[in-house]
C-alpha cells in the first residue's frame, strides 16, 4: 500500500502529540502520527509519580494524566494516530516504511517529517560488568514498566547502579511496595538525576546514595545473589582494585542514563550532534534535511516534559509552515545548501552541547538556547558570546549536568553573525 501525507510524525509521546496539535492549529490538515505502542503518551504512561505539567497546565499532574490531556488535544482535532505502527525506515526524500497489524506494510511519502521517537535506556552491555548472567538484572525503566503497568515487583533486595531519574523514582516505588533498596551506587561524584528526586526518593526513605562507587562483579547462577562493589578513583574514574566488597541482593537495577533513539535519523543521512546525540537543528527544530524536524528526547534528553511539549509545538508549527508555504520551503533549502544565512551555535567551556545548533538570519523574537553542562559548577555565569563579543551573562548559584539549563537571547543580537558560543565561567576551586 502507498500513502501520501503532508506531515508524518514518528512517535506519539509528549513531543509527537504536541507537534500534531500545533501543526493542525497552524493550518496543516493531512497529518498522521505513527506510534509503535497501543496507546499514546510514550514514557509518560509508566511515570505514575507526580511532577508533570507545572509550567504547561499550572498544576502538578502524574505522567498518565499529562499524557491523557495531550492525547485529548490530538483527538479533539480529529488528527489520525496509527497505533502499533512501527516506522521501519526513513529516507532522505521523506519516504517512510511503516508496519502495523491493521495497515500491514505501508509506504508513506511525506512532505514533512517530525522525528519524535524519544529515547531508550543504556543497558548492561556498554557497562562491561564481569561475571555471570543470572536473572534479576534490569534497567530501571524495565522495572518501572513491570511495577506500574504489569503489577509485578521485580525483587525484594535491590541494589541500583547509577542515579538517573528513572532509578530514583523506581527506588521510591520499590520502598513503597515493601522492597528493601539497599543502596544506590554512582560512579561519578555527581548524580545523573535531579536533586528533587534525590531528596524525595532517597533521602525521604533513608536509602543511601554512594558516590564514586561502581559494581565490578555479578554473582549468582540462576538468580542474582550478590554484586561486588568497588571504590572509584575520582581522577581516573576507574574502579580501584582490591576495594571490592560483596553486597547481597536478588535484584540489580541499572539507571545509567538515556540515549536519543536516532536510528531512523541516521538512516535518513541526517548528521547527529555528538554532544546531544540528537540531530543538529535550527531554531525552528529543522534538521539539515529540509522538511525534517526533531523534538523532545530524540533531539536531546529532557528532564522536564513541559519543554518537550514546547519543542514539539515549535517543530509542529514549523512543519506546517514548511508544507503550506512553498517560499519557506525553497528558502530553507537554498540556505542549507552552503550553510549560508546561519549563525553556528557552539558549546564553549563547560558546556556539553547547545540546541539549536544554528540560528537562521531570518529568526525573529527571542530564541531559547537549551544546553547541559559537563560538571557541577557553583557560583558560575552563563555567558553568550556572539563572534567573540559578550551579549549576555547570567549568574547561576549552581549548574549541574542532571538539569538542563537554558538562556534566552534576542534574535537581533545574533543576526548576521557567524558564531554564537555558550560557555560557563566559574571561579577556580
Amino acid at each position: 500500500m502507498k500513502r501520501q501525507v503532508d506531515i508524518a510524525i514518528i512517535g506519539g509521546g509528549a513531543a509527537g502529540l504536541a507537534a500534531a496539535a500545533a501543526a493542525y492549529d497552524e493550518g496543516a490538515r493531512n497529518i498522521v502520527i505513527f506510534e509503535r505502542e497501543s496507546a499514546p503518551g510514550g514514557i509518560l504512561k509508566q511515570c505514575i509519580h507526580n511532577g508533570f505539567g507545572l509550567h504547561r497546565f499550572n498544576e502538578e499532574l502524574t505522567g498518565p494524566e499529562y499524557a491523557s490531556r495531550e492525547a485529548a488535544a490530538v483527538s479533539e482535532r480529529g488528527i489520525e494516530i496509527e497505533f502499533e505502527a512501527t516506522v521501519l525506515s526513513l529516507s532522505s526524500s521523506k519516504r517512510l516504511t511503516v508496519v502495523s497489524p491493521t495497515m500491514g506494510f505501508v509506504e508513506v511519502q511525506a512532505k514533512a517529517v517530525i522525528l519524535a521517537m524519544g529515547s531508550r535506556e543504556r543497558t548492561r552491555g556498554p557497562l562491561r560488568i564481569a561475571g555471570t548472567r543470572p536473572a534479576g538484572i534490569y534497567t530501571a525503566g524495565t522495572a518501572q514498566h513491570m511495577i506500574n503497568l504489569e503489577g509485578i515487583i521485580p525483587g525484594n533486595n535491590v541494589v541500583m547502579l547509577g542515579s538517573g531519574d528513572i532509578g530514583l523514582i523506581v527506588a521510591r516505588r520499590l520502598a513503597y511496595e515493601g522492597a528493601n533498596v539497599k543502596a544506590v551506587y554512582n560512579r561519578s561524584h555527581f548524580s545523573g538525576g535531579l536533586k528533587r528526586n534525590i531528596v524525595q526518593c532517597l533521602d525521604d526513605y533513608g536509602i543511601p546514595l554512594k558516590f564514586l562507587h561502581t559494581i565490578t562483579s555479578i554473582y549468582g547462577k540462576d538468580r542474582l545473589e550478590a554484586v561486588g562493589v568497588s571504590d572509584v578513583d575520582k581522577a581516573t574514574k576507574l574502579a580501584i582494585p582490591g576495594t571490592e566488597k560483596i553486597v547481597e541482593c536478588d535484584t540489580l537495577l541499572l539507571s545509567v542514563g538515556l540515549i536519543p533513539e536516532n536510528e531512523l535519523t541516521s538512516q535518513a543521512g541526517i548528521p547527529l550532534d555528538r554532544g546531544s546525540s540528537g540531530a543538529s537543528v535550527d531554531e525552528m527544530y529543522q534538521t539539515s534535511t529540509p522538511g525534517v524536524f526533531s523534538a523532545g528526547n530524540v533531539l536531546h534528553i529532557h528532564d522536564l516534559v513541559d519543554y518537550v511539549s514546547e519543542e514539539g509545538e515549535g517543530a509542529g508549527r514549523a512543519a506546517a509552515r514548511y508544507v503550506l508555504d512553498s517560499a519557506y520551503e525553497e528558502d530553507s533549502a537554498n540556505a542549507r545548501e552552503e550553510g549560508a544565512g546561519y549563525s553556528k551555535v557552539v558549546p564553549g567551556n563547560g558546556v556539553k552541547y547547545v540546541v539549536p545548533q544554528r540560528i537562521s538570519i531570518k529568526a525573529s523574537g527571542r530564541i531559547t538556547l537549551r544546553f547541559r553542562v559537563r560538571d557541577v559548577y557553583k557560583d558560575a555565569k552563563i555567558k553568550v558570546l556572539v563572534d567573540g563579543r559578550e551579549i549576555k551573562s547570567v549568574p547561576k548559584r549552581v549548574l549541574v549536568p542532571a538539569e538542563m539549563a537554558q538562556v534566552k537571547i534576542p534574535s537581533k543580537d545574533v543576526s548576521g553573525s557567524s558564531n554564537v558560543e555558550v560557555s560557563i565561567e566559574f571561579g577556580g576551586e
Binding site: I48, H49, N50, G51, L54, H55, E60, L61, T62, P64, E65, S68, I147, N148, L149, E150, G151, Y176, L194, K195, R196, I198, V199, Q200, D203, D204, G206, D303, L304, R397, V398, E403
Partner: protein
C-alpha cells in the same frame, strides 16, 4: 535523617530566642532551588534562595509541617494492568505508609476513569485519592 534537613543551630548572644537555620531543596519544579529558612521560636522568619514564591511556601511548610503528594497503584478486578492513583493534594508526610496501605486495600471495577475517587478522605486528611489512568473505557 535526610541530609538536606541537617540543622545548623546558631547561638547568637544578641538574639532573644533560639534561631535555627534549615536548608531544603525546593521540589516544586525541577529547578530544585536551594532554600535557606531561618526559624525563630517555631516560626519561619526568612527564606532565601527561592526563584519564585512557591519556594518560600515550600520552605515554610517543610520546616513546620512537611506535606507530600502520594502516588500509588490500585488493583482493578478483571484487569492485569493496575490503575494508578494519587492524593488529590499533598498530605502530611508522616501519613505516607498509612495512605499506601489504604490504596492497597482497594479493588476497583472496570471501567476506571481519571479523576474518579479511589479512597475518599484518606486517613482522615480530608483529601481524596483519585485515579490517574483510564482503563477499559
Amino acid at each position: 535523617m535526610a541530609d538536606n534537613q541537617v540543622d545548623n543551630v546558631a547561638n547568637d548572644a544578641n538574639m532573644s530566642g533560639k534561631r535555627v537555620v534549615r536548608r531544603f531543596t525546593c521540589v516544586n519544579c525541577p529547578l530544585g532551588c536551594d532554600l535557606t529558612a531561618t526559624v525563630e521560636n517555631g516560626n519561619v522568619v526568612n527564606v532565601e534562595g527561592n526563584v519564585c514564591l512557591r519556594g518560600e511556601t515550600y520552605a515554610q511548610t517543610e520546616a513546620t509541617n512537611p506535606m507530600r503528594v502520594v502516588t500509588g497503584l490500585v488493583n482493578v478486578s478483571g484487569s492485569e494492568m493496575p490503575a494508578s492513583c494519587r492524593t488529590e493534594s499533598a498530605i502530611p508526610k508522616a501519613l505516607i505508609p498509612k495512605c499506601l496501605q489504604a490504596m492497597r486495600s482497594v479493588e476497583l471495577k472496570l471501567p476506571v476513569t481519571i479523576g474518579q475517587v479511589v479512597v475518599p478522605n484518606v486517613c482522615g486528611t480530608g483529601v481524596d485519592v483519585i485515579a490517574t489512568r483510564n482503563i477499559g473505557r
